[in-house]
């Protein structure tokens, strides 16, 4: 039980590291995912191909390989950034493929007649998108996006193995000080549970407020 009390600052540092990693990669994943989803539903063929290749490749890449390639490979091109930024890049790009698919299937759930009705009312493309299609798509993508972000938080553990300050990585420091290894991991597990449960609670609130009435 003393493990937590004695190493509280280490744990907090790791916890905040994971939180930061999750937050920034979520932002990147949401932005990139939105961009790729708009590419994939675009009426322009080359953009559709680009989106499809992006999604197919990233979905089938093991995240460890992606980390390996980004953290150790990009510096070879003379691109030297802090490891944390690289980790955010890798996690964000990987997750963006899944976000993209969630958003795309959300847009596809909007019935065709909605768009037709909007256009026949004289709305232009921007209005159709902002006032009719996106609000309806948004309601149905809340649960899948939530579970994708939970998975992102869990995947961030891999970054710890590539020397990014992060919750799982704290076990090394604490282990070297000779503390009970089982309790060390128990508190790490609790930390991850707090983060995943918080995201899940957040999306439950969103779902209740904006979700599709079932």
């Amino acid at each position: 039980m003393y493990v937590l009390k004695d190493n509280f600052s280490t744990y907090v540092e790791g916890f905040l590291g994971t939180l930061q990693l999750t937050f920034y990669s979520s932002l990147l994943a949401l932005a990139l995912g939105f961009l790729m989803a708009s590419f994939r539903v675009a009426p322009v063929g080359s953009l559709r191909v680009f989106g499809t290749v992006w999604v197919t490749v990233l979905r089938n890449t093991p995240l460890t390989l992606l980390f390996f390639a980004v953290l150790l490979g990009l510096p070879r091109f003379g691109l030297v950034l802090p490891f944390q930024v690289f980790a955010v890049l890798a996690l964000g790009c990987y997750t963006s493929a899944f976000i993209c698919e969630a958003l795309r299937s959300g847009i596809n759930t909007v019935p065709r007649g909605q768009g037709e009705a909007a256009r026949s009312l004289g709305m232009n493309f921007g209005q159709t998108l902002h006032l009719v299609v996106l609000p309806q798509a948004f309601r149905s993508v809340i649960p899948p996006v939530g579970s994708t972000l939970i998975a992102l938080a869990k995947n961030s553990a891999i970054a710890g193995a590539f020397s990014v300050t992060e919750l799982l990585g704290t076990y090394k420091t604490i282990n070297e000080l000779g503390y009970n290894i089982v309790w060390t991991f128990v508190w790490i597990a609790v930390g991850y549970l707090i983060i995943t449960l918080a995201i899940s609670a957040l999306f439950n609130v969103l779902e209740r407020r904006y979700g599709v009435a079932r």
């Binding site: 070879r76 899944f98 998975a151």
Partner: protein, 292 residues
Amino acid sequence: MTEATALYDLPGPRTRRRHAVYAVLSTVVILALLAWICYLLFDTGQFAYTKWMPFEYKGIQRLLLRGLGNTLRAFALAAVLSLALGGLLAAGRLSDHRPVRWAATLVVEFFRAMPVLVMIFFIFVALKAQPLTALVAGLTLYNGSVLAEVFRTGVDAVERGQREAAFALGMRKTQVMAYVLVPQAVRAMLPTIISQLVVALKDTSLGYLITYEEFLHAGKLIASNLDYDLPFIPVVMVISPIYIGMCMLLSWFARWVSRREQRSPKTEAVAVTTAEYGTLLPGGEPPTAPRP
């Protein structure tokens, strides 16, 4: 055009011209991007002979193949064991006895909520297991729990009449499960099960982090060799197509099974899940079968 989305009307002549302009512009941008990447690769000398030399040696080819073999072995073990564990936990969750049900639910929920890497590290560091054991055990616990949920939702999704008819014929609950519900559920959930196995295949690369000598580990050994001028990018260019190819093959198989099952008359009583890619992100909520 994309299939029926609400976003666009059928394009008229002017819109078609505009789209053609966009198409040309975006193609140019994408090609420029690719050219820039190629330029960077050449500029930093990634195609120099010394960097690609190692792949000519028999010893290194054997090292890579051994790594690939180890990856596939870990995958096979993890797949078989997690299917078994999944079946067991699903049986527990569907049990009529409340304590069994609670225990199984607790186990499933806990292991689904934990990052798989935390479990692997725990088994590796705290229980001092061999790398292969730790990797397979971690993957089994995680994927087994997810598969348990898949099996359970599959069984729940079989039409109620099937269960009632079976009971009315005088079958015992084990018989109802074994002869009526499970065969239909497994057939319907097969695409999802295979999709989950793709996750397991991808996650075998986590073995790299606990020094299990798998494919990525072999690549790392070659990449950090000074004799070949640290051939890092060449290694990534060799390894990633193989990884991605294996995963794509398995996902393609899942889609093929799903198309086949949707046509099969044997799965009439339960809706077949489409092998959706969205469920492939490890750690997301388990896919649920749509209720008929």
